[in-house]
Amino acid sequence: MDDLEEENKRMKAKTLRTYLARRILQYIFVVFLGLSLVFFIPRLLPQDPIRAIIGQFQQHGAGLDTKTVETMVVTFQELFGLSGSLVEQYLTFWRRILTLDFGPSFFQFPTPVSELLRRFLPWTLGLMLTSTVVAWLIGNIIGGIAGYFSRSRWARLMDVLATVVRPMPHYVFGLVLLILFAYLWKVFPLGGGASIGKPLSFNIVSLLDVLRHSFLPILTLVILNGAVWYHQMRLLVQNVKNEDFVQYAKMGGVRTWCLVSQYVIRNAMLPQVTGLALSIGQIYSAAIIVEIVFSYPGLGTLLFEAISRADYNLIMGIAAISILTVSTLVLIVDLLYPLLDPRIRYR
C-alpha cells in the first residue's frame, strides 16, 4: 500500500515537473520568437527607417547637402544599431535587450528609451492588471450564475446585453464612452492619467484623482473583456451542470448556492484560467488601444507619439518590452494553474 502511494506521489511530481518544464521552454521560445520577429521585420521590409527620418527633415525645409546626409546616415545607423553585418546587428540587438538599453529616444532627445519605458510601463500595467482581474472575476461569476439559471429572465437579458456589446472594437467603444461621459455629460475628464500640475504622491486626494482619470479606460476594458468571459463561462457551466456529479449532489440535498459555487463554477473555471493565459496578448493590445483613446499616460500613448515622430528606437523598445511583459504574464498564469487544478496531468 505504501509503495503504491509512493509511486503515485512520484508520478504526480513527475507530471508537474514536465508541465513546468514545458511552460518554461515555451516561455523562452516565445520571447525568442517575438524578439527575433521584432528584429527581422524592419530589416525585411523595403522601407528604410533612416531615409524616412531624413526625408522628414527635408520636408520641414532643412536644406541638406549629400555629405551631411551621408554623415547623418552613419550616425543614425550607430544610434539605431543598424551598422555592420546582419549577424553583428543581431548580436547588438540581443545585447541591447539583455541590458535593457535601447539607445536614446529621438523625439525626447537625449532621454534614453529605457527611462521613458520605466516611466510609462507602470501605468499600462496598472490599467491592464486592474481591468483584467475585475473583468475576469465579474465575467466568470455572473456568467457562472447565469449559466446555471439559464432559463431565468435576467439571465436572458444579460445574454442579449453581452451579445450586443461583445463585437464592438475597443477603440470605437471607448470613443463612445468618452463622448457620452466626458464630452456631453462632463462627469469624467477628457483624458490623461492625473490632473496636470499636481505632483503624484501617495495620499487619498491624489489616488482619487488617478482613479477618476482611469475610470473610463478601465470601464471600457472591463465591459468589453468581461462580456467575453461571461459568454465562455456561461457555455462551460451549461455543460458542467448536466454532468452526473452535479445531479447526484443536487439529489443529495446540497444547497443551491454551494452547488453553484463549489461544484459547478469551480469545475468550469479551469478552462477559463487557460483561456486567460492565451488571451493576455489580446488584452494587452486592447489596453494599448484604449490608452490612445483616453490619452492615458501609458505605453500606448507613448507608442502613438513614437509613431508620429518616426522614433525608431522608441518603437523598437516598446515592441520589445511589450513582448517581454506579455510573455512573462502568460508564464505567471501558467505557473499558477497547477495550484488550481489538483489533477494536472499533461501529455
Partner: protein, 284 residues
C-alpha cells in the same frame, strides 16, 4: 431550404443578415458614386445633413455618404482578403499537424501557441510603422492574414485529430487512397463548415485591426476605409467642432457591421455545434 428556415428562426441570425445585406448594398452603391473618393474639395465643406448631401459633408470637402460607401467596400475587401488567406494557412497547418501527429504536430503547435500569445497588434504596428502609408489594400489584407491564423489552426487540428480516429479513415487507407486524396476528399468536407464559421470571426478581427492601424495613422490614409474615415474625423477635430455627422457615420457603420458579423457567427456556431443542437431539439 430547411437549414435556412431554421437559421432564420434565431433573431440574431435574422438581424445580422439584415445588417450585412444593407451594408453590402451600400458597398455596391459606391460604383454609382458621382465623386472620386480620393479627391478633396469637391463639395462645400462642413455642411450638416441636407439634400443632396444626405449625411452632410466633411472638412475635406467630400460627401460623407458617398465616402462611406467606399469605406465599407474597402473595409469589407480587406477583411475578405485577410480572412480567406488566413483560412488557407490555418487549414494547411491544422491538417498537417493533426494528420501527421508526433513531433511535426508538437513543433507546429509550439509555433502556433507562440504566435498566439504574442501581442499581435504590436507586430502589426511595427510592420505598418515602417511601411508608413505605403501598404495597399491587398497588402494590408495579406499582412493581417499573416497574423490571423493560429487560433483557427488549433481548431482545425482538433477536428482532424478526431476524424483520424474514425473508421472511414482506416477504410480509405486500406482501400489504397493516397494521403492527399484522403485529406482533400474525406476531411475537407468535415472541415470546411468549421472554416466557414471562423471566417466571420476573422473578418471582425481584421476590420478592428484595420481601424486600429488607421487611427494610428499607419495605413494608406487617402484610401477611404472605416478606419481612415474615423482617423480624418478625429484628426480634424470633428468632435470639438460639433460635426457629429462626420464622426458618427463611421462609428455607427462599424458597429452595425461588427454586430452583424458577430450575430451571424454566433448563431452559425450554435447551429453547427451538436451539443447546443441537441438542446434546441429537446427544448422544442
Amino acid at each position: 431550404m430547411k437549414i435556412v428556415q431554421e437559421l432564420f428562426r434565431d433573431y440574431r441570425f435574422t438581424l445580422g443578415f439584415i445588417f450585412l445585406t444593407a451594408l453590402v448594398a451600400l458597398a455596391f452603391l459606391s460604383f454609382l458614386s458621382p465623386y472620386d473618393p480620393v479627391k478633396w474639395l469637391q463639395v462645400p465643406r462642413d455642411m450638416p445633413p441636407s439634400w443632396p448631401h444626405i449625411l452632410g459633408t466633411n472638412s475635406k470637402g467630400q460627401d460623407v455618404f458617398w465616402e462611406a460607401t467606399f469605406a465599407i467596400r474597402n473595409s469589407l475587401l480587406i477583411a475578405l482578403i485577410a480572412a480567406s488567406v488566413s483560412r488557407i494557412i490555418a487549414a494547411v497547418v491544422g491538417l498537417i499537424a493533426g494528420y501527421k501527429g508526433g513531433s511535426v504536430d508538437q513543433a507546429l503547435m509550439f509555433l502556433t501557441d507562440g504566435i498566439l500569445v504574442l501581442p499581435l497588434v504590436m507586430m502589426l504596428i511595427l510592420v505598418a510603422s515602417i511601411m508608413k502609408g505605403q501598404i495597399s489594400l491587398v497588402g494590408l489584407g495579406i499582412l493581417l492574414a499573416f497574423f490571423g491564423w493560429p487560433w483557427d489552426a488549433r481548431t482545425v487540428r482538433a477536428q482532424v485529430l478526431s476524424l483520424r480516429e474514425q473508421v472511414f479513415t482506416q477504410t480509405a487507407m486500406l482501400s489504397g487512397k493516397g494521403v492527399l486524396a484522403l485529406v482533400l476528399g474525406e476531411y475537407m468536407p468535415h472541415i470546411s463548415p468549421l472554416l466557414l464559421s471562423t471566417v466571420l470571426n476573422n473578418m471582425t478581427w481584421s476590420i478592428s485591426s484595420e481601424i486600429t492601424l488607421a487611427i494610428l495613422g499607419l495605413s494608406k490614409l487617402e484610401t477611404p476605409t472605416l478606419g481612415t474615415m474615423l482617423y480624418w474625423a478625429l484628426r480634424r477635430q470633428a468632435l470639438l467642432l460639433g460635426y457629429w455627422w462626420w464622426i458618427l457615420t463611421p462609428v455607427v457603420l462599424t458597429l452595425v457591421l461588427l454586430v452583424g458579423l458577430y450575430f451571424i457567427s454566433v448563431s452559425l456556431c450554435e447551429y453547427l455545434d451538436p451539443r447546443t443542437r441537441a438542446q434546441r431539439v429537446t427544448m422544442e
